[in-house]
């Protein structure tokens, strides 16, 4: 498979399914930009597929040098810091903000981190506003193609989701492997906590 000339960006709110999509892409045959610094844990037993230095995007755009042909996970807030001198295709994960918040709180509690003192509705409002601004930034750049990926659909119909992602990326990916990468039981187990 010839590597695509663009960088595949997987983005969304943390705990919206970005790691799951990274697993699918990896299984489907897309090279992943990751340093494996963040190890699998109870919250993401199959791994995070993150690149630590992506956090430095606001001050160092060169962290994405050499990224074309690869997929990389970038949190929604850092999307407006993408260097605009190269092509991207963006997989934008969408998940009910209330579920996202619950999942974040479980993760924070497990890691012993302090929870935000903000009321959930105010936190949800801020996250929603952040997503709207990120989407507006992307919409103002027609050269960047965006596929919105529903977290719920990923779980309920991973085969269709895999097909749509492969079609969007224009790459002959291993759909069967992508579909198998989705393990709804992980989600069901954690959401029941």
């Amino acid at each position: 498979m010839n590597p695509p000339l663009f960088t595949t960006i997987v983005t969304g709110l943390p705990r919206s399914g970005t790691s799951m999509v990274m697993q699918m892409l990896h299984a489907g045959g897309i090279p992943i930009l990751t340093d494996h610094q963040r190890k699998p844990d109870e919250d993401n037993p199959r791994g995070y597929f993150e690149l630590e230095k992506v956090k430095q995007l606001p001050t160092d755009p060169s962290v994405l040098d050499g990224s074309p042909g690869h997929a990389v996970k970038v949190i929604h807030l850092l999307i407006p810091h993408l260097p605009e001198d190269r092509p991207y295709r963006v997989l934008f994960l969408e998940r009910d903000p209330a579920e996202v918040l619950r999942s974040q709180q479980i993760m924070l509690t497990r890691t012993g981190s302090s929870l935000s003192t903000l009321a959930p509705d105010r936190l949800t409002a801020i996250f929603t506003a952040q997503l709207t601004l990120t989407q507006a930034w992307l919409a103002a750049r027609p050269a960047i193609q965006v596929l919105r990926v529903s977290h719920a659909q990923l779980l309920s119909d991973p085969a269709t989701a895999a097909r749509e992602i492969a079609h969007f990326l224009g790459a002959p990916l291993n759909l069967s492997a992508m579909t198998s990468a989705v393990d709804p039981t992980l989600y069901r187990n954690r959401s029941a906590v």
């Binding site: 963040r38 430095q56 807030l77 850092l78 105010r122 801020i126 929603t128 506003a129």
Partner: protein, 689 residues
């Protein structure tokens, strides 16, 4: 459609402009354009708000609301995009500004350089935000672009770009107008500083002229100039009379800078009026005054942190207000106008109603036409007001909390340690400013709640501790005051303000020996601290030391003969000693200096009551209450005088007001609150029993 008295309105903001300086210029024939404007207009001192910080005040000017409502509470705030801090933004404002309301009403407004106006809002007209000069070329550097979102509509960027005067391209004549021999002072660090402020001033002026020259008919132009404040913070120390710490050389070179700066503003005013045309209605105002006499603070030798905390001491209670042109009654007598009245009055001049949720009023006494009936709120009227979209209008502190959560989850890099500390400081100072707003609006409970939290984190920060004590004393809780002050005094055992407050707390607790002990360790104020001497005078009077109290008030009067508080203090001593006619004379002297001094009206009422001139006493007490609602002792006198005259229904009304105000307090606290100076309302009433 209600009548519209003004066809076009120019609102001109001169940060920190002061009548004292202006009258000095008038006395030597200076500022002819302002003099001419006054001849056809009305003028008054304009009451400021607390805290006297420009972003809060100018946003109150533009919204008619106090800072707890409009939401701009500091110069800087967290950056919702994840950076450390940013200049307080228009997206943080929680209510519509005048330009939004006019836009919503189909009018065209141009806004230039107003505080907290960045990013520029998409109104009908234009906004040149207060960051339009950000990143402006430093000397020797090529001109930079106007920052993103600093100008709306974007098509105006090309008009505004030539208005920006690079620092090194400021005409020499501008500098020479302030410091004629500036070339001989090439190495003096004051010269580049002045050049920088003047380049900004010139840039704003040119942007203002550009707005006025808009070929499309417009309704309102709002221009904000900050140079009198920013230059004043550096150069007012050189203004005559020579301050002790100022060397002869600096005094000689820079003593006329402030006078010349006022003259420069007058020339700019002349140009703006000429550009606006003869049918323009003008509101010229400042957010507060600026000390130019004996009350100037000494900032020489202070650390940058100490200096930052001291800068606000330059600001005086009253700014300036001038109204002139169609729709304005010339030489009208304005009744205690405040910053909060500007937006309601501007709306009335343009034929629009004010919102009942605004905190100010229409200055109807100065307008030729009655104001339209108010509507409940402009904020609940949904129409295109040129506001930013909701997703941009995030509370920056909420946004920062959300970002902290993402950092905790490991998805964003944490800010470097220094930036975190800076953010925490911004958070604390914003809360402090909110507490100051509550304090000044007579809401001690929410103020004390905020300040208790701040003092628990910073038990030796004087502003936090002293403001907490002030609010706790208003809540009649001397115990926690004494505890907080003991912690503070353990670190700063001779801090004069802490000792004063400790004395006040002991007085509130009824512990006279402890109060006198605290006062005995306090030294006679030195330097130019007239206000401190006044406070000491009050405490000595309450502690039963009228002789010392008189000394203190006399000292304050000597420091600042124009200070009505000192003269009113002498009246209080006279009342204590039974010299009621002398007291009334002092009060009248104080009111001649400042007719809006509520305490002078009250003490005049006390003196007149003791002189059995009850009709006049009632008038004085009512004036005090109009100026400062909720004055307990004034309400007590009003109740008791009406009772004495068997005007029972009036007495009952005042009694009910008092009962409502005191309903949250237990009997011990009520006793503390009702404790007064000697010869107060209780003593006065006893003579009839």
């Amino acid at each position: 459609m209600p009548p519209r008295p003004a066809s076009r309105l120019l609102i001109l903001g001169w940060d920190a402009a002061d009548w004292c300086m202006i009258h000095q210029r008038f006395a030597v024939g200076g500022m002819p354009h302002l003099q001419a404007l006054l001849q056809r207009g009305s003028q008054a001192p304009l009451s400021t708000l607390e805290p006297k910080l420009s972003p809060l005040l100018w946003t109150s000017v533009a919204t008619g609301m106090t800072a707890d409502k409009h939401g701009i509470l500091h110069f800087i705030e967290p950056d919702p995009s994840g950076g450390p801090v940013r200049i307080s933004a228009s997206t943080t404002r929680r209510t519509k500004a005048l330009w939004n309301i006019l836009s919503q009403s189909g009018m065209r407004t141009h806004v230039v350089n107003w505080y907290a106006s960045h990013p520029a809002e998409p109104i009908t007209g234009s906004v040149v935000s207060n960051l339009f000069l950000e990143g402006h070329a430093a000397p020797g550097q090529p001109p930079s672009a106007i920052p993103h979102q600093a100008v709306f509509p974007p098509t105006w960027r090309d008009r505004i770009a030539p208005c920006r005067v690079p620092v090194d391209q400021l005409p020499d004549s501008d500098l020479a107008a302030l410091v004629p021999n500036w070339r001989q002072l090439a190495k003096d660090p004051h010269i580049p500083l002045l050049r920088q402020h003047l380049a900004r001033c010139r840039s704003v002026h040119q942007a203002g002229l550009t707005a006025l020259a808009d070929e499309t008919a417009w309704d309102c132009v709002m221009i904000f100039q900050e140079a009198i404040d920013t230059v004043g913070h550096h150069f007012m120390q050189f203004h005559p009379p020579q301050m002790k710490h100022v060397g002869n050389k600096d005094f000689r070179h820079f003593k006329n800078v402030m006078d010349n700066l006022y003259d420069l503003h007058d020339r700019m005013l002349g140009e703006l009026l000429q550009a606006a045309g003869p049918e323009i209605t003008v509101i010229l105002l400042s957010d507060h005054g600026f000390h130019s006499g004996s009350e100037r603070p000494v900032t020489e030798g202070l650390s940058p942190e100490q200096r930052a905390a001291t800068e606000a001491l330059w600001h005086r209670e009253h700014g300036i207000l001038v109204l002139a042109g169609p729709g304005v009654i010339p030489s009208a007598s304005l009744c205690h106008p405040s910053l909060l009245d500007i937006t309601p009055t501007a709306l009335a001049l343009l034929g629009c109603p004010m919102g009942s949720d605004m905190d100010g009023r229409v200055l109807t006494e100065a307008l030729t036409h009655p104001a339209p009936a108010p509507i409940p709120s402009w904020d609940t009227l949904h129409a295109d007001a040129g506001l930013h979209p909701p997703e941009l209008r995030q509370n920056p502190f909420d946004a920062n909390d959300a970002i902290r959560q993402l950092v905790a989850l490991g998805y964003l890099a944490a800010l470097p340690e220094g930036n975190e500390a800076r953010l925490n400081l911004v958070r604390d100072e914003t809360q402090f400013n909110l507490a100051m707003v509550h304090t000044s609006r007579g809401r001690p409970r929410p103020a004390a709640t905020i300040l208790t939290e701040l003092v628990s984190k910073h038990p030796t920060e004087p502003r936090y501790v002293f403001n907490l004590v002030t609010n706790l004393l208003n809540l009649a809780q001397p115990g926690p005051c004494i505890e907080a002050l003991r912690h503070f005094l353990a670190v700063f055992p001779t801090h004069p303000d802490a000792l004063q407050q400790l004395a006040a707390a002991h007085l509130a607790a009824g512990d006279l020996p402890a109060a006198r002990a605290a006062l005995s360790t306090e030294t006679v104020p030195d330097g130019n601290a007239a206000s401190r001497a006044n406070r000491l005078g009050d405490l000595h009077l309450l502690a039963g030391n009228p002789l010392v109290a008189r000394e203190m008030f006399q000292l304050a009067h000597a420091r600042d003969p124009a200070d009505p508080a000192a003269i009113t203090g002498l009246a209080k001593v006279d009342i204590t000693e039974g010299h009621f006619e002398a007291a009334a004379g002092h009060c009248l002297d104080a009111l001649e200096i400042n007719h809006e001094h509520a305490e002078a009206h009250h003490q005049l009422g006390v003196a007149l009551a003791w002189l059995n001139s009850l009709d006049h006493a009632l008038l004085s007490f009512q004036s005090a209450l109009a100026l400062q609602p909720g004055r307990i002792e004034t309400l007590r006198f009003l109740e008791l005088i009406h009772l004495q005259r068997t005007e029972n229904s009036a007495a009952a009304a005042y009694h009910q007001t008092l009962e409502t105000m005191l309903s949250d307090f237990d009997s011990a606290q009520r006793a503390i609150i009702l404790r007064t100076y000697p010869m107060g309302s209780e003593s006065w009433a006893e003579q009839f029993q």
